[in-house]
């Protein structure tokens, strides 16, 4: 999922200072799992806005905020409340916020959240980054995503900085390559792995912005 975190109240205040009325949009997908785009998050924000003397004209939770046409359709029934608002506040990821951005040329669309990473939930509302969307998955070769989990994206084994198996960047975290090495070892793949050199990685597959069409089966950096 896309992991998000609500901005600080100070930062939000700074962005909305000059506006008086707001329409709030959440998302029932990742942001709901993160607690940053669900009903509770929306109502908390609404309560705070009203305490600040602002008006909330309405709110809704998009089924999938990053689905542009679906969200547009869902939003159409809220036209009156949207028209009454000076500003749209989006409790979603950056992609969801930009869905809304497309619909309102003359009304500010302001993100309530910061988008952090693609991750998994280990425990309730605890998330771990797992994927950098680099465009070329090496999991079959390396056992776990060293592109993401190694801060140096080492492709051929650990650097020399690990200490007692812990990462040089964060001593509370096990070195990704020590874990990968264990996985490859258990699968009897170490010798096979070291028969060749992995890389240089094709980072052009991660160039932004990317466009992908299932029909054309083609990822394009520019369209």
């Amino acid at each position: 999922m896309i992991v998000t975190k609500q901005k600080t109240i100070d930062e939000i205040s700074n962005y909305i200072d000059q506006y008086k009325s707001f329409f709030l949009v959440g998302c029932s997908e990742c942001a709901t799992l993160c607690g940053t785009g669900n009903e509770e998050a929306i109502l908390n924000l609404k309560e705070w806005l009203e305490k600040e003397g602002k008006k909330v004209t309405g709110w809704f939770i998009a089924k999938t905020g990053c689905q542009i046409l679906g969200t547009k359709r869902e939003l159409s029934v809220y036209k009156q409340f949207l028209d009454e608002a000076d500003c749209i506040l989006v409790l979603s990821c950056g992609a969801g916020t930009q869905t809304l951005n497309e619909f309102f040329e003359d009304k500010p669309v302001i993100p309530v959240n910061d988008t952090l990473f693609i991750g998994n939930m280990r425990r309730l509302k605890e998330f771990e980054e797992k994927c950098r969307a680099c465009g070329e998955c090496f999991l079959a070769i390396t056992g776990l995503c060293v592109v993401t989990l190694c801060p140096k994206s080492m492709l051929n084994g650990p650097c020399g900085g690990y200490r007692d198996g812990k990462c040089e960047v964060n001593s509370h975290r096990k070195c990704a390559w020590i874990i990968a090495f264990d996985i490859l070892n258990k699968r009897d793949l170490i010798d096979r792995f070291y028969e060749s050199l992995l890389g240089p990685k094709d980072w052009s597959k991660a160039n932004s912005p990317r466009h992908y069409s299932v029909k054309e089966k083609k990822v394009e950096f520019t369209t």
Partner: protein, 296 residues
């Protein structure tokens, strides 16, 4: 040909020294040290923004060293340059007369003084060795022809202190396969750890190893190394021993300790050289070398 390569191929025992370029444009103190060190050691390594702390670049320091006839080793990390910049800088370095490189992945920016910098790590050190090998064969990283060949003497690093050691040894083997001509170890405090690595390295005939050693100057310095330098394991007995010493006795202990390691390496022919790391004063190098010469 690189003088360092010549000496190592001849079987000479080499002594190299590590120099961290200045944090700022004033090169005079560095040049003064180099003027003395060139008579004491075979080559000088210039670090590449070590511990991710921004300093004058290694290439410029290497050129300044060449200008006074002191053999330089260009240290290059993968942290701050993508493959275009790395190749371009290496060609530039070669054009200036720099013949030795020591390549490594590099400490992460979060450990340094520019913590918000974007880490590059476009390639890792194994790929970088292959890249330099390609330049030596007149090709870029993709095999495109260059208008000539470089003749770099390619150094790689290995950390015999690493726990677990096996992943480190596999990387050593891979670096060797990729074309590393010599290896420099991380600083060594226990000969047993060095020997554990050398037992493995011995399987590959003729591997040239230069062993990193350090002269402990103060309790604070040892504490910093133990806590802050990635991959360093300072044994507890050494920390305790230094802690029990009077402050004024640490320096003498440091010279004795480094000398004993150096002598052990020389007498038992464990490696082809020593690399004196993190020096603060030329005097320390002199003291260490005097001690070794007396014993030799």
């Amino acid at each position: 040909m690189s003088l360092l390569r010549e000496k190592l191929l001849k079987g000479d025992f080499v002594i190299t020294v590590e120099m961290t370029p200045p944090k700022g444009p004033d090169i005079i103190p560095m040049l003064n040290k180099l003027e003395e060190l060139k008579y004491l050691t075979d080559a000088v390594n210039f670090t590449d923004n070590p511990s991710a702390k921004m300093r004058l670049c290694s290439m410029a320091a290497c050129k300044l060293s060449l200008d006074i006839d002191f053999e330089p080793v260009l240290q290059m990390t993968c942290r701050d340059r993508n493959r275009i910049a790395i190749q371009s800088d290496l060609l530039g370095a070669y054009s200036l007369g720099i013949k030795n490189v020591l390549v490594m992945t590099g400490d992460h920016p979060t450990l340094g003084d520019h913590k918000e910098a974007k880490p590059v790590y476009d390639i890792d050190s194994s790929v970088l060795i292959k890249l330099v090998k390609n330049l030596n064969e007149g090709k870029d990283i993709y095999g495109n022809s260059l208008n000539g060949k470089t003749d770099f003497f390619i150094g790689a690093v290995v950390n015999p202190n690493a726990e677990p050691i096996l992943p480190q040894l596999k990387r050593f083997e891979q670096k060797l396969k990729m074309g590393a001509d010599f290896f420099q170890t991380q600083m060594i405090f226990e000969i047993e750890r060095l020997e554990r690595f050398l037992d493995f390295a011995d399987k590959f005939n003729g591997t040239k190893v230069i062993v990193g050693i350090i002269i402990i100057k103060t309790k604070k310095m040892l504490h910093y190394i133990a806590e802050k330098i990635p991959g360093i394991v300072v044994p507890h007995w050494l920390i305790n021993k230094v802690r029990e010493l009077k402050d004024e006795d640490v320096e003498k202990f440091g010279i004795d300790f480094a000398s004993n390691i150096a002598m052990n390496i020389i007498e038992n022919k464990l490696a082809q050289g020593i690399h004196i790391m993190a020096i603060s004063k030329v005097e320390d190098v002199k003291n260490l070398l005097n001690y070794i010469k007396i014993r030799v």
